[in-house]
Symmetry: C2
Subunit: 217 residues, 2 copies
C-alpha cells in the first residue's frame, strides 16, 4: 500500500515538472507573439492554457485523494501540502503567459513592442524561460543549489523590469500612450511569472531543509 | 479531543474573517492615500501589511498542525485544505493594497489621480471594500447567497476597470504618461483584489455545496 502511495506522490511531482514545461513553452510563444505580432500564435497560447488548467485540477484531485485516503504524516504530509501550493503558482504562471498573448492579440496587426524595446522584452522572455526551466529542475531533483541560482535570475528579471519602466517614462518616449500601457502590463506579467517561479523553488527548499523562506512581496 | 479540534478549526475560520477586515481596511486607506496624496497613510498601509503576513503564517501553521496531528478526513479535511487556499488569497489582497499605497508614495506630493478620474477610483475603492466585507460574511456564515451577490459586485468592478482604461486611452487624455501608467497599475490591483475575494467566496461555496467552481481567469 505504501508503494502505491509513493508512486502517487511521484506522479504528482512529475505532473508539476510537466507543468513547468507547459508554462515555459506558453511564455516562450507569448513572447514571440508579442514581438512578431503573430495572431495565430497568440491564439494558440490562449487556447492551450486549458491543458494547464486541466493538469492543475488533476494534481489537486490526486493530492486531495491521497490526503483523504492515506492520512500521511510528517514529511509526506508536507510534500502534499507543498504540492498544492506549487500547482497554484504554476497555474498562475500559465495565466501570466495568457495575459501577454492577449496583449499581442489586442494590438494585432501592430506589434505592441516599439523597436527600441525589442531587446528588453526579448531578454525578459528569455529570463522567464530560464527561471521556469530551473524551477522544473529544482522540483525534479530537489536541487537546492539550483534554487539559489534561480533567485539570482530573478534579480536579473527585476532589473529588466526597472529598465523597461525607465524607458517608458523617459522624456524621449515617442510611441504614445497605448504602447506604454501595454508594455507596463506585459512587464508586470513577466515579473509576476518569475516571482511565482521563485515561490515554487522556495517551497522545494523548505521541503528539503525545513527552513522557512519568506513570501514573495 | 475532537472538541479541541473543532475549536481549532473555528479559530482558523475567525482568523480568516479577521484577515478580510485587515485587508479591507488596508484597501480603504490605500485608496484614500492615493486620492489625497497622503504620504503618512500610504506608509501606514505598507508597514501594517506585516501584521497581515503574520496572520497568514499563523493560519498556515495552525492548519498544518491540525493536518499532522488530527489526521482529519472528509469534510474536515476539505475545510483545512480550503483554508490554506483562502489564506493565500487574503495575503495577496493585502499585497494589492500595498501596491496601491506604493503608487501613492511614489507620486507624493502630487496625487496620482487626475480630477476627472477621482470618482472612478473612489468607486473602485468602495467596490473593493464591499466585496471583501461580503467575503468576510461568506466565510463567517457559510453564506452561499451572499457569495452570489459578491459575484455581481465583481462585475461592477470589472466595468469600472474597463471604464478606467477607456478614460486613459481616450483621445482627450491630457495628463501625460506617468499618471496613465500609475492608474493602469492601480486599476489592475483593484481588479485583482476583487478577483481574490471572489475566489475566497467560491471556495466557501465549494465547501458548502461540494460544487466545484471555476478558477478565476
Amino acid at each position: 500500500m505504501r508503494d502505491t502511495y509513493h508512486d502517487e506522490l511521484d506522479a504528482i511531482s512529475s505532473n508539476l515538472v510537466e507543468m513547468t514545461n507547459q508554462v515555459g513553452s506558453a511564455m516562450s510563444r507569448a513572447t514571440t507573439a508579442l514581438l512578431d505580432a503573430d495572431l495565430a500564435l497568440a491564439e494558440k497560447v490562449i487556447a492551450d492554457d486549458e491543458s494547464v488548467d486541466a493538469r492543475y485540477r488533476d494534481v489537486e484531485a490526486r493530492a486531495f485523494d491521497l490526503l483523504a485516503r492515506q492520512q500521511p504524516v510528517a514529511s509526506d504530509l508536507r510534500v502534499l501540502v507543498t504540492s498544492l501550493r506549487m500547482v497554484a503558482d504554476l497555474e498562475r504562471m500559465g495565466d501570466n503567459a495568457v495575459h501577454i498573448a492577449k496583449i499581442a492579440r489586442r494590438r494585432y496587426p501592430a506589434s505592441a513592442v516599439p523597436p527600441k524595446l525589442r531587446s528588453t522584452i526579448l531578454e525578459m522572455g528569455h529570463a522567464a524561460e530560464e527561471i521556469v526551466a530551473k524551477a522544473g529542475s529544482v522540483i525534479a531533483g530537489r536541487d537546492v543549489v539550483m534554487a539559489a541560482e534561480l533567485e539570482k535570475d530573478d534579480d536579473v528579471m527585476d532589473e529588466l523590469h526597472r529598465q523597461l519602466f525607465r524607458s517608458i517614462l523617459d522624456d524621449t518616449w515617442s510611441d504614445g500612450l497605448e504602447p506604454a500601457i501595454d508594455l507596463t502590463l506585459a512587464g508586470r506579467h513577466y515579473e509576476r511569472f518569475a516571482d511565482h517561479a521563485v515561490s515554487v523553488a522556495r517551497r522545494v527548499v523548505y521541503l528539503v531543509t525545513g527552513e522557512r523562506v519568506p513570501a514573495i512581496p
